[in-house]
């Protein structure tokens, strides 16, 4: 069903992060655990969350989703920028790999890394909280779609950036603020009205909120609304990425 070219590119992209797992998997898991220990204990009695849900339990899905988002983005963006800068992308560009195969391989490897790190964070942080699984399919669907969205964003950033500092700009001024302001650490109902309104324009909020619904059966907005927005956002980014790949923008000069 899938061509040897596609499978090879996918396995190469997975091997690329797997070979340096201490940096690409273990380190982000550790960071998230530190977030849980520090924010969880400091904010436990200060932040308003869902009724009957402890702050630590509330925080766990948020941290898992944050890890998924950041690592999916990091995987596709860093792979592309590194191979562009060191020139090794030429080996793929010279090969009979279609832009669909290119897109699929980079996207799936980004999803794989995002989900592996997310699962790692979940397994460790779950020790600190009693979690429920009110709607497990929603957990899976939102994790997959969110990883895919950030994988596509990583590809766009990696294609667009010519230098590491340009990629860092994308990451620091877009991905990081959108992630931190998505409700990872709080329910947006605890925010002033103005910031609640602003949060509704952040697609990352719907990813985190829908994902959290899968655990607690409670969310800030209707999960179907979140799902619709997340699917539409993915379709938009996927089409944009494929368009860039098809045109050869910054890849085939």
């Amino acid at each position: 069903m899938f061509s040897v070219s596609f499978r090879t590119l996918l396995s190469k992209e997975v091997l690329r992060f797997w070979k340096v797992a201490a940096q690409t998997i273990a380190a982000p898991v550790l960071s998230s655990v530190l977030y849980l220990l520090i924010f969880g204990h400091v904010l436990e009695s200060h932040v308003e969350v869902f009724p009957g849900v402890s702050y630590i339990a509330f925080l766990v899905p948020g941290l898992v989703m944050m890890s998924v988002l950041q690592n999916s983005f990091a995987n596709s963006s860093s792979s592309l920028i590194q191979s562009k800068i060191n020139g090794s992308l030429v080996f793929v560009l010279l090969a009979p790999v279609s832009y669909w195969e290119f897109f699929g391989a980079y996207l799936l490897s980004a999803i794989a890394r995002g989900l592996i790190v997310g699962a790692g964070v979940f397994v460790i942080t779950a020790w600190f909280a009693s979690l429920s699984f009110a709607a497990p399919w929603w957990i899976l669907i939102f994790a997959l779609l969110s990883a895919a969205i950030l994988g596509a964003m990583g590809m766009i950033a990696g294609i667009w950036a010519d230098k590491f500092d340009q990629l860092a700009t994308f990451q620091n001024f877009l991905i990081m603020p959108a992630t931190f302001l998505s409700g990872v650490f709080y329910s947006i109902h605890s925010l002033p009205a103005f910031w609640q309104t602003i949060s509704h324009f952040n697609p990352f909020f719907y990813m985190v909120d829908g994902f959290r619904y899968g655990f607690f059966g409670q969310s800030d907005v209707n999960p179907w609304t979140s799902l619709t927005i997340v699917v539409l956002f993915f379709v938009f980014l996927a089409r944009l990425t494929i368009r860039l790949l098809k045109s050869g923008y910054k890849l085939r000069h």
Binding site: S3, V4, S5, R7, T8, L9, S11, K12, L15, R16, K19, V20, S83, N86, G87, S88, V90, F91, V92, L93, L94, A95, P96, V97, S98, G248, R252, H253
Partner: protein
């Protein structure tokens, strides 16, 4: 069938015209040289053939497959050794070659990978990480990567730039064998003696255009002039020979004159005139025109 057919290729980078109306047909089995000074457009042309760069207009096909509309087949037929020493630092040599095979749709290609590594003296580096290899070894891997899918057309963009004599010999022996087996070879190089020895046909480029295209022998014949260097032991150069002098060095212990001659028959006349003049020759060298002379003349616009 034509191995590479290039028709009316134009390419500009903003205001810089990199290629202007380039057309060229490279036949199957040729060992073809693409020569020119830096910035002539050789690498741009190779990049367009390889699909790494898109032409503004014109068309390129490899063994009948268009590099844009039928890119899969076109790329399967082509192996490219890039000019830059690029590598993926995450993998070993064998992993790199297996991945490259896979990109071209080949599974279980280890027999050929072993043969390529053997021919390029890479066997003992098979499990070494790419990062740990010397520049010459990395260059060998680049060549191996271009050959993993047994492409009928092979393009080498300055493959011997900055590499030692041993690699050059190994590389040219292997590439020569592939050419004899029927592979079409396209080579760009700044080493003109290499091009003269290897290529049966040559195109010279300047400012994005092809300014000369012929067999290597025919190109060299365009410059009929040879150079005769005389070191005089006694006496002076006769006045009758002064018009032939292209260079002289009177500061040496033996006065040295370089004379242009069109053919060997002139040599006899020159020697006779020296005898009549009572001039004794200390040393004498005759240098035939070579590709470098042709290249210089063509680039200077003298022998196009």
């Amino acid at each position: 069938m034509t191995a590479i057919a290039i028709t009316n290729i134009d390419k500009s980078y903003r205001s810089l015209k990199a290629l202007s109306g380039v057309s060229l047909a490279i036949e199957r089995g040729e060992f073809f040289g693409l020569l020119g000074p830096n910035g002539a457009g050789k690498t741009t042309l190779i990049s367009i053939i390889a699909g790494l760069t898109r032409a503004d207009s014109g068309r390129v096909s490899i063994l009948g497959h268009d590099v844009v509309t039928d890119f899969r087949e076109a790329r399967r037929k082509l192996g490219v050794v890039p000019q830059e020493l690029v590598f993926d630092p995450f993998f070993t040599v064998r992993e790199t070659l297996r991945l490259q095979s896979g990109y071209f749709g080949l599974k279980n290609n280890d027999d050929w990978i072993d043969e390529v590594m053997n021919n390029l003296d890479l066997d003992d580096k098979a499990d070494a990480n790419m990062r740990s290899l010397s520049g010459g070894m990395k260059r060998r891997v680049l060549v191996a990567q271009a050959l993993v899918h047994k492409p009928p057309v092979i393009m080498l963009d300055e493959p011997t730039a900055g590499v030692d004599v041993e690699l050059r010999q190994t590389l040219w022996q292997f590439i020569g064998r592939l050419n004899r087996e029927g592979h079409t070879i396209v080579l760009t190089t700044h080493y003109l003696e290499e091009a003269q020895a290897l290529c049966n046909r040559i195109a010279m480029m300047k400012n994005g255009r092809i300014v000369a295209l012929d067999t290597t022998d025919a190109l060299i014949k365009r410059v009929s002039e040879s150079q005769l260097t005389l070191q005089l032991k006694e006496g002076a150069l006769p006045d009758s020979l002064q018009p032939l002098v292209s260079n002289c060095d009177l500061s040496r212990p033996l006065k040295t004159y370089t004379l242009r001659i069109d053919n060997y028959a002139e040599l006899e006349k020159i020697l006779a005139q020296l005898r009549e003049n009572g001039t004794t020759i200390g040393d004498m060298q005759l240098k035939q025109a070579d590709l470098e002379d042709v290249f210089i003349q063509i680039m200077n616009g003298e022998a196009g």
